[in-house]
C-alpha cells in the first residue's frame, strides 16, 4: 500500500481559514500552515532583521533568522548593511554560528575555505584547478553567499524581504513607520543604539498568539491581576509611599480599568500594521527625568520637542512579527520556530544624547515585563500555552475575533477606533491571508 499522502493546502483552504470575525484553529496548530507561512508569508513581506548599531564597524556581523531562514546581517566594506543567507554555497555549512562578531574584509567558510566578500560575492576557492572544465562557473553556487531579496534600512532598523520581487518597503509599511520615527526622534540626536543583548524567552505556542496579544487590551486587568493587582495591594498596605516604587510605575498601570483601555484607542494601517495608545497609554504617566526635556528642546525647539514627547503610543505591530514600544525604546521580535514554538527576543535601545536614567527605566521595563523570570511574562505565557493546548480540542474549531466587529471591514486605509476593538487582530489576518496566498499556485484562478 502506498504511504498516505497528506493533501496540499490550496489557496481556497488558506483563505477559508480566515472569516473576518473568526479564524480556524489550524492557523495556530497546523504544521502545514506553518510551513506555508515560512515559504510564503515570511518570504513575501518585509521582516525585521536587526538594528544597524549591532553591526557598527566594517566586517561586524550578527546572525539571526527571518522566519525559519538563517541569515547574517553584516556591515560591508562600503559601509552599507547587507543581509546574506547564512549558508555556504558549497556544502551548506553555516558561515557564521556565533551570535555576533567581526569577520574582517571577508567571510571564510570553516569547512573548505571558500571565501567571500562581505556582500557575499565569491572571492576564492582553494585548489581551483579541480573545477576547470566542470561547469562550476555556470552554477548559482559559484556566485557566492546569496543575499536576501531586498534590504531596507529605515532610520537604523534593518528590514529584509526574502523574495527578490514583491511589495516595496514603503508601500508595505506606509504611515506605520511613524511609530519607529517617533521612537528615534526621542533621541536628541535622532539616533538609537542597541543596549546589550536581548532577553530570549522561549514560548511553546504559535507566534501569532504573541503578535495578537500586543493589541489585546482586554487581557491586562484579568491575566495580570496576579502581578499588577498584587503590586497595588502591597503599595496600599505600605501606606502608598511616594515616590512610588518603580514596580508601581511600570507594572501597576496594567490594572487600569476597561474604560482606560477603551479611551486609549487603536489605529490600524493597511498590510497588518497597527498600534494601541492613539490618545494616551499606560506609558503616559512616567515621571519626568531631569535634563531630558531640556536636551530635547535644545535639539528640536520647544514645540517640536513637546510634539514628539506627547505621542505615547503603546504597542505598534509591524506585521508580521515585531512590536515596537516608542516611549520605552523597546523592540520585541517574535521568531517562529514551529507551529507551537516561538522565540521572543526583547531588545532595548539607548536614546543617543539623552540622560542615562531613561535607559535605566527602559532596562527595568524590559526585565520586569518581558524576561523569562518576569512575573508579568509568567502571566502571559501561561495563557498562550493553555491556548495552544486547548486549541487541540475538536469540540470547537473556530477562534473568535469579534469584539467591535462591524462586518465587511475594509483594511485598505487607516482607521482609528475604540481601544478595545479586535480590529487590529482581524487586520493582521487580512494581511496574513493575502501574503500567504499571493505567490501560491492557483492564486490567479482563485482571485477570479
Amino acid at each position: 500500500m502506498a504511504p498516505y499522502q497528506s493533501p496540499k493546502l490550496t489557496v481556497q483552504d488558506i483563505a477559508g481559514m480566515v472569516q473576518g470575525h473568526q479564524v480556524h484553529r489550524d492557523v495556530y496548530t497546523s504544521e502545514k500552515v506553518y510551513r506555508l507561512e515560512m515559504r510564503n508569508l515570511f518570504t513575501n513581506t518585509w521582516v525585521f532583521v536587526g538594528h544597524e548599531s549591532q553591526t557598527p564597524k566594517k566586517g561586524d556581523y550578527y546572525t539571526t533568522q527571518i522566519g525559519d531562514q538563517p541569515v547574517i546581517q553584516v556591515r560591508h566594506s562600503d559601509g552599507e548593511v547587507k543581509v546574506l543567507n547564512n549558508r555556504c554555497p558549497h556544502k551548506g555549512t553555516k558561515i557564521a554560528i556565533d551570535r555576533e562578531g567581526n569577520t574582517g574584509k571577508f567571510f571564510r567558510c570553516p569547512y573548505h575555505a571558500w571565501s567571500f566578500k562581505t556582500d557575499g560575492c565569491l572571492l576564492a576557492i582553494p585548489l581551483k584547478k579541480g573545477y576547470e572544465d566542470t561547469g562550476l562557473h555556470q552554477t548559482e553556487n559559484v556566485k557566492g553567499i546569496k543575499p536576501v531579496g531586498a534590504v531596507y534600512n529605515h532610520r537604523g532598523f534593518i528590514f529584509a524581504r526574502l523574495a527578490e520581487e514583491g511589495i516595496g518597503f514603503e508601500e508595505f509599511f506606509g504611515d506605520s513607520l511613524s511609530s519607529i520615527d517617533n521612537m528615534v526622534d526621542r533621541s536628541p540626536e535622532g539616533r538609537l543604539e542597541v543596549a546589550g543583548p536581548p532577553l530570549r524567552y522561549m514560548h511553546k505556542c504559535n507566534w501569532k498568539m504573541l503578535v495578537e496579544n500586543q493589541t489585546d487590551t482586554c487581557h491586562p486587568m484579568v491575566a495580570h491581576e496576579s502581578s499588577a493587582g498584587t503590586a497595588v495591594k502591597i503599595w496600599d498596605e505600605l501606606g502608598n509611599p511616594e515616590p512610588r516604587p518603580p514596580a508601581m510605575q511600570i507594572i501597576a498601570p496594567f490594572m487600569s480599568p476597561y474604560e482606560f483601555f477603551e479611551d486609549m484607542g487603536i489605529r490600524t494601517w493597511p498590510n497588518g500594521h497597527g498600534h494601541t495608545g492613539v490618545n494616551m497609554s499606560i506609558h503616559s504617566d512616567y515621571s519626568a527625568i531631569p535634563g531630558y526635556f531640556e536636551a530635547m528642546t535644545q535639539a528640536y525647539g520647544e514645540d517640536r520637542a513637546k510634539e514628539i514627547l506627547d505621542e505615547n503610543r503603546h504597542n505598534t505591530i509591524y506585521f508580521p512579527s515585531i512590536m515596537v514600544k516608542g516611549p520605552i525604546q523597546q523592540l520585541r521580535n517574535f521568531i517562529p520556530l514551529g507551529p507551537n514554538k516561538t522565540l521572543v527576543e526583547s531588545y532595548i535601545y539607548r536614546l543617543v544624547g539623552a540622560p542615562d536614567e531613561l535607559l535605566s527605566r527602559t532596562a527595568m521595563y524590559n526585565r520586569m515585563i518581558n524576561a523569562p523570570t518576569s512575573i508579568v511574562g509568567h502571566d502571559d505565557l501561561e495563557m498562550y500555552e493553555r491556548a495552544q493546548e486547548g486549541l487541540m480540542s475538536n469540540g470547537l474549531e473556530w477562534v473568535n475575533l469579534q469584539r467591535l466587529f462591524e462586518g465587511n471591514e475594509d483594511f485598505s486605509s487607516e482607521a482609528v477606533e475604540n481601544g478595545t476593538t479586535e480590529r487590529q487582530m482581524r487586520n493582521q489576518f487580512d494581511a496574513w491571508s493575502r501574503f500567504m496566498t499571493s505567490t501560491m499556485e492557483g492564486h490567479a484562478e482563485a482571485a477570479e
Partner: protein, 160 residues
C-alpha cells in the same frame, strides 16, 4: 552572634537554600536588609545592572510582590504550584571583614524547578553579600550567575 565563624556563614547559605526549597518565602524575605537587591545578570560576567537588561534586578518591593503573587488566588501560572530544589557545593568564603561586619560567599549550585510534567535544571554560581546586624546575619545583596544566562528559557518562576 558577635563575629560569625566561617561555619556559621556557610550554614547561612545552606539554610537560605532550604527555605527556598521548602517554600518558606516569607521567612526568606525576612533575611533581607531593606535596600538589598537580587540580581541575575543576562550577560556572562555582566558588570552593570542598570543600563543593560538583566534577568532580575529586584528591590524588596519587587521581591515581596513576587512572593505574595505566588500565593494569589488568581495566579494562574502557579496553578498548580512550581517546586524547586537546590543542590549546593560547600560555599567559598571570599571576604570576611569582621570590623565592618560584612562577608561575601561564592557558591556553586544546581537548581531544579518543576511544574506539571516539566522539569529543568540550571547550573549557577551565587554570590551572597552578608552583613551582621544586631547580632544576626542578614542578606545585603545576592547575585546569581547562570552558567547559560544567554540561552533562551521558558518560565523560571521561583528563585534560583
Amino acid at each position: 552572634m558577635s563575629a560569625p565563624s566561617k561555619d556559621q556563614l556557610i550554614d547561612f547559605i545552606y539554610e537560605e537554600a532550604r527555605m527556598l526549597d521548602e517554600g518558606r518565602f516569607s521567612e526568606w524575605l525576612d533575611l533581607w536588609l531593606p535596600d538589598g537587591h537580587y540580581w541575575m545578570p543576562l550577560d556572562y560576567k555582566q558588570t552593570d545592572p542598570h543600563l543593560v537588561t538583566s534577568l532580575l534586578y529586584e528591590d524588596m518591593f519587587m521581591l515581596k510582590l513576587r512572593v505574595e503573587r505566588l500565593n494569589g488566588a488568581r495566579t494562574f501560572s502557579q496553578k498548580p504550584k512550581s517546586r524547586c530544589h537546590h543542590v549546593i557545593q560547600r560555599p567559598f568564603v571570599d571576604e570576611m571583614d569582621e570590623a565592618e561586619g560584612t562577608f561575601v560567599t561564592n557558591t556553586s549550585m544546581h537548581y531544579v524547578e518543576t511544574r506539571l510534567d516539566e522539569q529543568f535544571m540550571l547550573a549557577l554560581t551565587a554570590t551572597h553579600s552578608l552583613k551582621l546586624v544586631d547580632g544576626a546575619l542578614r542578606l545585603a545583596n545576592k547575585r546569581v550567575d547562570l552558567l547559560n544566562s544567554d540561552a533562551a528559557f521558558g518560565n523560571i518562576q521561583l528563585l534560583p
